[in-house]
Amino acid sequence: MTRSSDNRPGPPSENPVTPPSVAPPSVAPPSRRCGDTGSGARATETEGLARAPSRRGRRIVIVGTGGQGALTAARLLCDCLVEYGHHVVSGQLHGMAQRGGSVHTSIKVDCGISPVIAAGRADCVLGFEPVETARALPFMSSQTVVYMNTAPVIPFILGQRAVLKQGDGRYPNVPGLVDSIRAVTAQVFPFDATRLAQESGSVKTMNTIMLGCLLGSGLLPRTAEEFWRTVTRVMPPDLVKANAEAFSNGVKMGRKFLPCEMSP
């Protein structure tokens, strides 16, 4: 059959671009949300004057190196949040990404259409690698919660560059990197996630440990149990099994390091 001739383009029936900016009705915000002014902030708005930047929603930055599973982690997080009706936008700093390169992804939950997080506006940074966590410093503020893996991934040719007389070839001192982050936010929680992953079955589950931290912290509008339900649905059973212990260890870690006023 041919397309009928009256199939002329007309205005599409959908509304213009602006996506729904309200939190989905089914979602009861957790009682312990850090720094959230909720949608009530709108009431204080004065015509023509800017109020303090909205803190609605959640802005998560996940950084690491290629092969650490940062993109998979971001994908799973999006899958879960979308499944529970949240408005999610996410983006990655693109580049000639290949194994070993820097990976940076951002996820914004219920807060607008731009996938890029502005300087100092991240609510949480999941740092899979110390140098990459420090690279995310411009996104942090005193309100940012940082879960940071202290196990370094040495850049491939760091030592070789010293041989070629391009720098001293040394990986920065990790406690020094932690300090540089602590200078911005007190809520930085460094721990050896790679070792914890090993103890949980495999080094490859490090990204699951870090996701567990985030879900355990209560920073997200969904619970760890809800997240894991999504994982069980979208991942092959053998992977779910291989990651289960890592996830629960990560959640414990997140609960142990409860950020700011969330501590009991």
């Binding site: 529970y84 693109h94 259409i113 100092g120 411009p138």
Partner: protein, 643 residues
């Protein structure tokens, strides 16, 4: 219900909300519009569009091909459109320029089935040699150009563009920037159509043959069709105006998303009228309506001031004298607040957009804490462990020496740039290694080496070889055949085997065209057919033969070709389910830390820590190239080494 898609782009559950990558939004939009033909040449950041079509081609019934180059992709897709098919082709911004010849005449001839060209942009020059603003194709060649701000836009615009193209008979360009291609956004899936355009080619030479007598008539019609396009766009949903304030902000592309975010975050809805420009030409009535409702204008758009100039012209025509601010400095009313002003180069950031908007509205500057970032080691892209290009570069340099000029081309092998391989003295664009070698060799009188990969060779290296042969240029073209288009994500090249045809190691993990009998191409026969007499085929890991071939080529006269055949190390492992050759290690008793391996190869598998050399067992691919470089014999297969 909401689901995350990506895995299941073909699901037919209208109303489903999904979080979709921009590039996948484009695929879904095309599928919902009933696309019947898709061709592309891969190029970051557009590659996922073609790769997705490659995977779903059979199931969806879309005719698919990875074309040999973008010009061919456009021409095949255009001809498909002349049969009534809704056709689409994908490429990056540079590909659009490569295809400029057919593109410039297509609007004259006009399409039958709707035709959409997706040309992804790369502001900030992340994975390209330049950035460019394809929105100019609107004025340059009479193309409606859609400029999505989000994956949602990308999907809706693509879906709309096919019917729009049929009505106006104009081919259409969709220009998502890399940010849009590679961000995820929430979309609502529409239905997949149950019917498709009827396919029939009806002869009508005066309509399809743009010889001057016809072209002059077509030219007149083109003006009318372009006017119709503007009229339809004015009624479209791609120019939403929000807010009610007297201060105008007009924005396009990802910069619109940033501006909308600032308006939302700062609660400026009643101070500002925000106008999105989603397509070009910008309908005059959109500009008029916007200008009537505001007392000043801030234009927020990346790259060239396309919107800014349209707004300025429209205001001028209307004798509307209001401040129009954007990229042109000095417009700000307060003398001391002329900065920040928008730059013409690189992509914007949310911070820049917020700063300028605050400045524009006279709001106080953002309270920004200064964050000091310590000096951090970078992680630049390098040739992978086991990469055959490294061996080819190393061997060629051994023979041709440091003084020879090495012209390089577009692909992974560009990473031969700099220390230690020094395999890239000149670079311009796809296929330019051979032509640049010609120019330099002819003027300097010295033999020049050109490096080019298999996919790039078929893309635009063939005419370059013919040109060099006819001029008898003194060049050695080294064709690096790794059976794959590796840099853009392992798409098949003409030397790849069609999956399933046989067990040869030359196959891509992404399916190629639908025909399982697609021919296997021989670079040897191709260059011989073009008149090259001296052709050497080698495996670069076979040191003796390769050195011999390069030595002969160095002594040769005129054009000679060395073809280095060896599969891409990463793709080989992907296909072999991670299986690697046994790794090597450095015998610490024998290593005298002479650094030769590092200075010659720069393989990321070699680690140097406090003067101690070792090989990362996880990275090593067992290619043994470092073992052949080591004069101490310290590098040996891991089984026989004391570390």
């Amino acid at each position: 219900m909401s689901v995350a898609v990506g895995r299941d782009i073909l699901q037919d559950k209208p109303g489903t909300r999904a979080c979709l990558l921009g590039n996948l939004g484009i695929v879904r939009g095309a599928l919902e519009a009933g696309v019947q033909f898709f061709s592309c040449y891969p190029g970051t950041p557009s590659s996922e569009i073609g790769d997705t079509f490659a995977r779903i081609a059979k199931e969806s019934g879309v005719q698919f091909e990875y074309s040999v180059n973008e010009k061919i992709a456009v021409e095949v897709a255009f001809a498909a459109s002349l049969t009534g098919a809704r056709s689409m082709c994908g490429m990056k911004h540079l590909g659009l320029s490569y295809a400029n010849d057919p593109i410039s005449t297509m609007p004259y001839v006009g399409v039958e089935g709707g035709m959409v060209i997706v040309s992804a942009g790369d502001p900030s020059v992340i994975t390209s040699p330049n950035e460019q603003d394809q929105r100019h194709f609107s004025r340059l060649l009479y193309y409606p150009v859609f400029d999505p701000a989000t994956p949602v836009d990308a999907m809706r615009m693509t879906r709309y563009a096919f019917g729009f193209s049929e009505t106006t008979r104009l081919p259409v360009i969709i220009r998502p920037t890399a940010r849009v291609c590679h961000s995820n956004g929430m979309v609502t899936l529409g239905p997949l159509p149950s019917t498709r355009n009827e396919i029939r080619f009806t002869k009508n030479p005066s309509r399809y043959v743009p010889i001057p007598v016809n072209a002059r008539r077509m030219r007149k019609e083109l003006t009318q069709r372009f006017a119709l396009a503007e009229e339809l766009l004015a009624a479209s949903a791609f120019f939403p105006r929000t807010g009610s304030g007297p201060r105008g902000i007009i924005a396009s592309g990802m910069a619109y998303a940033y501006a909308a975010q600032v308006v939302e975050d700062l609660g400026l809805e009643r101070a500002v009228t925000l106008q999105q420009v989603g397509a070009y030409p910008i309908p005059e009535e959109v500009l008029t309506g916007f200008l009537e409702s505001v007392s000043s204008v801030l234009v927020v758009e990346e790259l060239t001031p396309v919107v800014e100039e349209c707004v300025s012209l429209s205001a001028f025509r209307r004798h509307k004298q209001i401040p129009i601010l954007g990229k042109h400095g000095g417009h700000f009313t307060e003398p001391d607040s002329v900065n920040p002003v928008f730059p013409v180069e690189f992509e914007y950031t949310p911070d820049l957009v917020e700063d300028v908007i605050r400045d524009y509205l006279g709001l106080e500057k953002r309270d920004r804490i200064s964050v000091s970032v310590p000096e951090l080691p970078s992680r630049p892209p390098v040739l992978c462990p086991g990469c055959p290009h490294r061996m080819s570069f190393y061997m060629a340099k051994k023979v041709f020496g440091k003084k020879t000029v090495y012209c390089n081309d577009i692909g992974c092998y560009t990473l031969g740039y700099g220390e230690p391989l020094q395999a890239c003295d000149v670079l311009l664009c796809m296929g330019s290694s051979i032509t640049q070698a010609s120019g330099i060799a002819r003027m300097t009188g010295k033999r020049v080496v050109a490096y080019i990969g298999d996919s790039t060779f078929f893309h635009s290296g063939l005419p370059a070889i013919a040109n060099a042969v006819q001029a008898d240029d003194n060049i050695t073209a080294v064709i690096l055949d790794n059976y794959i288009t590796a840099m853009t994500g392992f798409q098949p090249s003409l030397t790849s085997r069609t999956p399933g045809s046989d067990h040869d190691n030359r196959q891509s993990s992404i399916p190629n065209r639908q025909s399982p009998t697609a021919a296997r191409f021989s670079i040897e026969e191709a260059v011989r057919g073009l008149g090259v007499k001296e052709v050497y085929s080698v495996d670069p890991f076979d040191e003796t033969t390769t050195l011999k071939a390069f030595k002969k080529a160095k002594k040769g006269t005129g054009v000679n070709v060395v073809i280095c055949h060896s599969p891409c190390a990463v793709d080989r492992r992907r296909r072999d389910r991670g299986k690697r050759r046994p790794p090597f290690a450095i015998d610490q008793d024998l290593c005298n830390a002479c650094s030769l391996c590092v200075l010659a190869l720069g393989c990321p598998g070699i680690m140097v820590e406090d003067g101690r050399y070792s090989i990362d067992q996880d990275l090593c691919d067992g290619c043994a190239i470092c073992a052949s470089v080591c004069v101490q014999g310290a590098i040996q297969p891991v089984v026989s080494v004391k570390t």
